[in-house]
Symmetry: C2
Subunit: 412 residues, 2 copies
């Protein structure tokens, strides 16, 4: 067949499609891959490449020189557009400061809200760009980014516009999640239902009209948004064409997992305190569990019970939760190490978590997350002796090249 890109010299080509190679990840040893116009057209043994693939004139041949290839990582839960820093809070927490003490000292989520409200959309885009570049350099080719530090119609729209523009200005695909229900803003502290009214009656229609988001999110948690409020927001979001993808059962068991199943959400996220019935309901409804071990690590808290989800048949995605307060980091290779060492996921389950299952959590599994003919050619090359070293040799960046839709967009 005809191709405009041929990648050869892959010691291991990890397709994440079992029928294409060995084991649950479908690994092709000494593999090769061809793409045409940004889509994969052929996967096979490097020895067969020249027989099977005809490279067009001006087509690109990339010799991976024994590197390992995996699908571009999909980070399905981040808050990476924000202004300000919460370094001081990080230091206070180490000294044992409570949430209340941190808030009294001017920290907490509302400090990010203040800084983000004060920033222009241009400033937010400028701040996001190096963060996206850092993600790309660590292998992430698709990312979900939430609003939720504006909490007024004007500032939520500003954040979503900044998220969209940040996405357009560099190679990582960015999908926006409208998270106006991230926190109750101070001006509505005594009348939270009025804030829910504002979200439903003003923010959501404005977001939908401008087509600024693909998803709708709610921080469903004690002291934030109740199950009833969450249902109301998600239903209004669905009516506006936004898929549900929300924070559920993180610190307190409220029944977020059950609600995610009831609503047919793409993902329920965090889930440290989900009930067994909720987990079973998620399995039945096909809701992906998006677990965020970096947050547990950064806050020094217990990790989500990943094995409970996996052993109940729930698909587990792993995401970074990149945000200034509870997880200031976006290296999904390290997130995989946490999944294996702390949550007892297998290296295979961890890699699926940041690739195919991350794509499921974003509703993009038909386009990205694995390497098979027809999908986008989002490809990461890594300088490792075998794919397991992506998480086994931890805390460093193994990525040497990143291709997005068949175009080399990062190399070092």
């Amino acid at each position: 067949m005809t191709a405009d890109l041929l990648v050869t010299g892959l010691r291991e080509l990890v397709t994440c499609e079992p029928e294409l190679g060995d084991g649950p990840l479908g690994v092709v040893t000494d593999g090769a891959l061809a793409a045409q116009a940004g889509r994969i057209v052929w996967i096979g043994a490097a020895a067969d490449a020249d027989d099977k693939v005809r490279l067009v004139a001006n087509g690109r041949r990339l010799d991976a020189r024994g590197r390992v290839a995996v699908p571009g990582f999909v980070d399905s839960h981040t808050h990476l557009v924000f202004a300000g820093s919460r370094e001081a809070e990080y230091a206070m927490r180490a000294r044992g400061a409570s949430y209340r003490e941190i808030a009294a000292a001017g920290g907490g989520i509302l400090s990010t809200v203040r800084a983000t409200r004060d920033a222009t959309a241009d400033e937010l885009v400028e701040l996001a760009r190096p963060r996206l570049a850092m993600l790309l350099a660590h292998g992430t080719t698709t990312v979900e980014v939430k609003s939720g530090y504006g909490l007024t119609t004007r500032d939520e729209i500003k954040m979503l516009e900044a998220i969209g523009r940040a996405g357009e200005s560099q190679p990582v695909d960015v999908s926006a999640n409208f998270c106006g229900a991230h926190e109750i803003p101070p001006e509505y502290r005594d009348r939270p239902d009025a804030y829910v009214d504002l979200i439903v009656n003003e923010m959501l229609p404005a977001v939908a009209e401008r087509r600024l988001a693909r998803y709708v999110d709610v921080f469903c948690e004690e002291g934030v948004f109740s199950i009833a409020q969450t249902r109301r927001i998600l239903e209004a979001g669905a009516a506006a064409g936004l898929r549900a993808k929300f924070h559920a059962d993180e610190f307190v068991t409220l029944g977020g997992a059950e609600l995610a199943a009831e609503m047919g959400a793409l993902s329920a996220d965090h889930l440290l305190k989900a009930r067994p019935e909720g987990v079973a309901a998620m399995a039945k409804a096909g809701v992906t569990a998006a677990l965020l071990p970096g947050t547990a690590f950064f806050l020094g808290l217990p990790y989500a019970p990943a094995r409970t989800f996996l052993d109940t048949g729930v698909r587990v995605a792993l995401a970074s939760d990149f945000n200034p307060g509870s997880s200031m980091g976006g290296n999904l290779q390290l997130v995989m190490t946490m999944a294996v060492s702390q949550m007892k996921m297998s290296p295979e389950e961890a890699l699926l978590g940041v690739t195919l299952h991350g794509a499921h959590a974003m509703g993009l599994e038909g386009e990205i997350g694995s390497l098979r003919p027809g999908k986008q050619c989002d490809l990461v090359l890594a300088d490792v002796p075998g794919w397991r070293s992506l998480s086994y040799h931890y805390g460093v960046n193994h990525v040497s090249h990143v291709l997005k839709r068949g175009v080399l967009v990062f190399a070092r």
Copy 2:
């Protein structure tokens, strides 16, 4: 004064010497530093640099363009010279395999011993070189490396020679620790005292005669070397001119902390199970506690009680424990994050742990570990808005430049 290197444009110059700047880390804002023949000769405000420092002809001026400078990191506990891989064991452990099952499947420390015995010194040097380059790129300028995967006189000498040669072939200063007492080799399993005899009567004299090590180490642990055996080896080491620096009270309380105090060891390492009396004895004797959070992280175990040591007045060093079985990673920026988020050390204590206190754990505090006139110019420049971001923004590499003895040895 005269200098052959002048570094300006430092948003923050973190000296780790309180009298040279603000706070416990002696931070100079908008700082500069001058060096001559590899040693620091001046530290001050960038605005004063041209008045105070006369750069010699051909002297180098480095504009740090607003970056942050910290002392080169000192990694005081590693096993980074080895052959083979233990990826498979890492995956088995996630499945809940016991130490016994891992050993039965050919894993565990003895698998590294087999592979290292089978390797030549040349091969060990080749394997170590990229690991040292990775450390350097992450800011480490001095590292301790242990033998202990040979466990025969011939193979321990071979390892120590490889450690020495690996050190000479690249910029990171490498100090060897003779750790023949890392494990009881299979051939001595039924007569461990005979192996101690071999260490004392044959290995130690051979090591000392060839000047292959600066330190002596023992894995003092239930089922490995007892307190009495450890004392015997450390005393023989001291007689041969080697300072004690050893694995103590990691999994079982044996009294390693007390022994370290009694022997005047440079450091006692791991220390998850030290008794309060042992901690107090270490404080009184001035023994540094070398804590290794990466090992707890990688194995999914509890972290060492750092606050107990700090609050008792023990100096705490933080090291990577880089090794294929229990901590396959050497990023000390991430080790600092673990110290803050998991062990509740302050960001200041964490930075001292990988700099000045690491130097204490190696007996090199007169030469390295902080930035003051007279010390070596081992300097790391980082692309961060402030020094706390070295650990706050985690899982990535912030290092942009590394200078060793005033020479630029890494830049990206």
